[in-house]
């Protein structure tokens, strides 16, 4: 074990040439990383840049395809979180790994090695209290996890690691769930740990967090390490450019942009997420017919909620939503479907499509209410089949037959099925959330072409995407979403990566 009193400079972790691929994605591509004691390192990057993958490898959850990990100078094989814990490495995941029905003390010792059969919880509680005091992490060891707020639960996760004498802490998007005050407190905890010679790695996409928390920052993009800077030697502007990458932005040829009347108008819309936290925070938006409005932003800044509020799936707690001048705030999903709003949802396998039903049934799920698919209350199976065959041909859905269950289709074909149905049902507005996420090049191309075709047919398209290249190619106008608010709106051709990156990380209001 290293001497806890050692000052900065002792090399704690070294990762060399780490590679890891998932089907279709190179999540880590020859990444090297080092961490010294008494240091706080920030990993910065967009969604899918490979930050979490890299840290999951260090924490023993994933096994690298290639590469070497050295801990305190010695080659380490980390094949489980337990191995990682034995080396003093611990990770606080974005989704906490706590047992709701157990107390804080029980959670802290849960799964610990070398515990007696009946643990002495009094000793554990005393230990927790001591740690709580030392790091100013206020948690009652007797409380049950379900009683705790999200911020308190995070403290339990950190205590859990400290109790196990972790010296290398990995925090995955730690402030995403915290209030500003709690973030400041977390910063204090990390500083205290640093002063004791421990080290921390932050996964983040927020510029502000990088600047205040870290000593050094590594920028990842598409699985590759693109830059490394001392935090003191860089600024948000440079980091934003590095994070987004300059080469991805360009405009492509499509029919000239000639918007028509206003189709969708949002005014000061507010909504809450599942945990009751504000997800949309007074959002304003305008979308005209024949326009593709791209919503840029890091995932989790209100994109899903925005789409759901517009389509009637989530109540707006304040504000107004107007569709072609008509107030549709908190209209039912059915009433919005009837006003011609199509929706390609974020969750395509469990919301957008029903895996256990056939392709034909899935294609009929919006049209079944009216002729020719049904007459009065009675369905006409031959017409359902006819409709399915037509859409399968028109959208090039690769399926053995219209009767094949959707769960056996590839992701791209599921998406084409949803798109075919939604476009058929859409007469005024199409809301598409991450429509090309996880699709191969061909399917992505098909989806984008279809969106542009809808725009050219005079419909309004709201395209939520995390892919700036996609936005630049497809959208006419780009609005940047950050923490439930629009940070800025500009024509797609004028968007430059630096401004986008800054707006996306909340570092700057629109000039």
């Amino acid at each position: 074990m290293s001497d806890p009193q050692a000052g900065a400079g002792t090399r704690l972790v070294e990762m060399r040439g780490i590679r890891k691929s998932f089907p279709g994605v190179q999540a880590s591509d020859d990444v090297c990383l080092s961490l010294d004691s008494g240091e706080v390192l920030a990993l910065l990057g967009e969604n899918g840049a490979g930050k979490s993958t890299l840290m999951n490898i260090l924490a023993g959850l994933y096994h690298p395809d290639a590469g070497q990990i050295l801990v305190r100078g010695r080659a380490a094989r980390i094949s489980s979180p337990r191995d990682a814990a034995a080396l003093g490495i611990g990770m606080v995941h974005q989704n906490f790994m706590l047992v709701d029905s157990m107390s804080v003390a029980e959670n802290v010792v849960l799964g610990m090695k070398g515990l007696p059969f009946v643990p002495d919880l009094r000793k554990v509680k005393a230990g927790i209290r001591e740690l709580s005091e030392r790091y100013n992490l206020r948690v009652d060891p007797e409380a049950y996890v379900w009683q705790l707020s999200v911020g308190e639960q995070q403290r339990v996760e950190i205590l859990k690691l400290l109790y196990r004498r972790a010296e290398i802490l990995i925090l995955d998007e730690p402030t995403a769930v915290l209030t500003p005050q709690e973030s400041a407190e977390l910063n204090a905890v990390v500083r205290r740990m640093r002063s004791e010679g421990k080290a921390a790695i932050f996964i983040t996409h927020k510029m502000e967090e990088v600047m205040t928390f870290s000593d050094r920052v590594m920028v990842l993009r598409r699985g590759k390490l693109v830059a490394e800077r001392r935090t003191a030697d860089t600024d948000p502007r440079e980091l934003a450019r590095l994070m987004v990458g300059r080469e991805v932005l360009f405009c492509v040829d499509k029919r000239p942009f000639s918007p028509g009347d206003c189709v969708l108008e949002l005014e000061g819309v507010r909504a809450e997420d599942e945990r009751g936290l504000p997800a949309l925070d007074g959002l304003d938006l305008r979308l005209r017919s024949g326009e593709i409005l791209g919503i840029a932003g890091v995932a989790g800044n209100g994109q899903r909620e925005l789409a759901e509020v517009i389509t009637g799936l989530r109540p707006a707690t304040a504000g107004r939503i107007r569709l072609k001048g008509r107030d549709v705030t908190n209209g039912s999903p059915l009433s919005l479907i009837r006003s011609g709003v199509g929706h390609v949802p974020q969750d395509r396998s469990s919301v957008g499509a029903v895996g256990d039903l056939s392709v034909a049934a899935n294609l009929a799920m919006k049209g079944y209410r009216s002729r020719p698919v049904s007459v009065g209350p009675v369905l006409r199976p031959s017409r359902i089949l006819e409709l399915a065959k037509r859409l399968i041909a028109a959208f090039g859905i690769a399926t053995p037959s219209p009767q094949t269950r959707v769960k056996f289709l590839s992701g791209g074909n599921v998406q084409k099925t949803i798109l075919a149905r939604e476009i058929g049902a859409c007469t005024s507005l199409l809301v598409a959330v991450y429509p090309s996420r996880g699709l191969d090049v061909g399917a992505t191309e098909a989806v984008r072409k279809e969106l542009v075709a809808q725009r050219d047919a005079g419909r309004a398209v709201l395209l939520v995407s995390e892919d700036l290249e996609e936005l630049a190619q497809v959208a006419d106008t780009i609005a940047v979403l950050f923490e439930g608010r629009v940070m800025g709106t500009f024509p797609a051709c004028e968007a430059d990566p630096e401004t986008l990156g800054l707006l996306m990380s909340g570092a700057k209001k629109e000039a």
Binding site: P333, I337, P345, V354, M365, V378, P381, T404, R405, F408
Partner: protein, 365 residues
């Protein structure tokens, strides 16, 4: 050579028929082992059971008598199960309907025209079944209370409530202490076809067709299918999930209620002990064996009824416990559950390694 399970791309039609049959044969084999342990001849026992259930016209009508309530409750259960609403309260819904129908038959005859007494008894019975099912349905859709527990517990409430009536205020004063109400007036008797088999059979067969049509050929059935497969998707498609779940469960309760109303108006002609003899629970097995297909429920119910009736015969002829019929039912369920694996999956033998004889061949030669 290794065996692999492989998911079927679309459910095999052949498997839909072969698997229940094979499961049934497997359960016969399992029961045979048990019978051998009792030192009786399995073949003779099965022959006696078959004879007891189908050996004569009278035996067949008795089998139908048990098949009718099984069909009706199974239709109800299958409808609820389609929505993944685990209604295991068919027994209670049947009993409450029996109570309600008896109430009409016993106490309304004074002020209702005689010709209306029977239809009213049956309708009020169905309504009572639906009402009893509405409790778990509303609790689930409004407060997310688990329906399995509520439907199960309400069975006992219903059974004890019926008990309290025919042991207490409704007991026939001329009944020599027998636990039951006075007999219904003749106008409230459901006509019989032959033996004790009654027109409830026509209701059941007609409703099986209606339910099949409803589920497979109507917009409502399509909505129920989507809700059953994915409530989140249903909501996104603009379907009122809660309202439709409640409606379907009400219908499920009404179907189970019809079974109870028929039992009291056609068989016992009074409310008495022996109304709750487990049809509502056997219906769960029937519904699964029929793979929730209304059209399969009629033959499967007759098969199950035959096992019940035949089981009684075995008790008398072979000196076996009458519980053997129920044991066989249980023995059927296990192979059925295992068998459902084969409608979803198929077994594939992995091909021997290319470019050489299968490993192990040489050693064997």
């Amino acid at each position: 050579m290794a065996l692999h399970f492989e998911k079927r791309k679309s459910a095999s039609t052949a498997a839909l028929f072969i698997v229940p049959l094979a499961s049934f044969l497997a359960s016969l084999a399992l029961t045979s082992l048990l019978l051998l342990a009792f030192e009786v001849n399995p073949a003779a026992t099965f022959a006696a059971m078959f004879k007891g259930a189908f050996g004569s016209w009278r035996a067949f009508t008795e089998t139908l008598v048990k098949a009718i309530p099984l069909m009706l409750t199974s239709l109800g259960v299958a409808l609820a199960f389609k929505l993944r609403f685990w209604n295991i309260g068919a027994e209670g819904q049947l009993v409450m309907a029996g109570v309600a129908a008896s109430w009409v038959a016993l106490f309304w005859s004074g002020w209702v025209p005689g010709a209306l007494l029977l239809p009213l008894a049956i309708l009020v019975g169905c309504a009572a079944g639906a009402l009893w099912a509405s409790v778990p349905a509303l609790l689930k859709t409004s407060l997310a209370v688990d329906e399995t527990l509520v439907t199960l517990m309400l069975n006992y409430v219903a059974i004890l409530f019926a008990d309290s009536l025919y042991y207490g205020p409704w007991r026939d004063p001329k009944g020599y202490g027998f636990p039951g109400t006075a007999p219904f007036p003749k106008e409230a008797w459901l006509p019989r076809i032959s033996g004790r088999a009654h027109v409830g059979l026509y209701f059941a067969l007609a409703l099986a067709l209606v339910l099949w049509f409803l589920l497979n050929r109507t917009r409502w059935g399509f909505e129920l299918k989507i809700i059953g497969s994915s409530p989140r998707a249903a909501r996104y498609e603009g379907i009122a999930v809660e309202r439709n779940v409640v409606l379907a469960v009400l219908l499920s309760g009404a179907l189970c209620g019809l079974a109870g109303a028929c039992e009291v108006t056609a068989i016992s002609h009074r409310l008495q002990q022996g109304l709750a003899i487990g049809y509502g629970f056997t219906a769960i097995i029937v519904a699964w064996m029929s793979q929730l297909n209304p059209l399969a429920i009629a033959p499967v119910s007759i098969l199950m009824a035959a096992i019940l009736v035949g089981g009684d015969q075995v008790q008398m002829k072979m000196g076996l416990p009458s519980a053997m019929g129920q044991v066989m039912q249980g023995m059927i369920l296990f192979p059925m559950l295992a068998g459902s694996l084969f409608t979803e999956f198929r077994i594939r033998r992995s091909a021997p390694r290319a470019g050489g004889p299968a490993p192990g061949r040489e050693g064997a030669a």
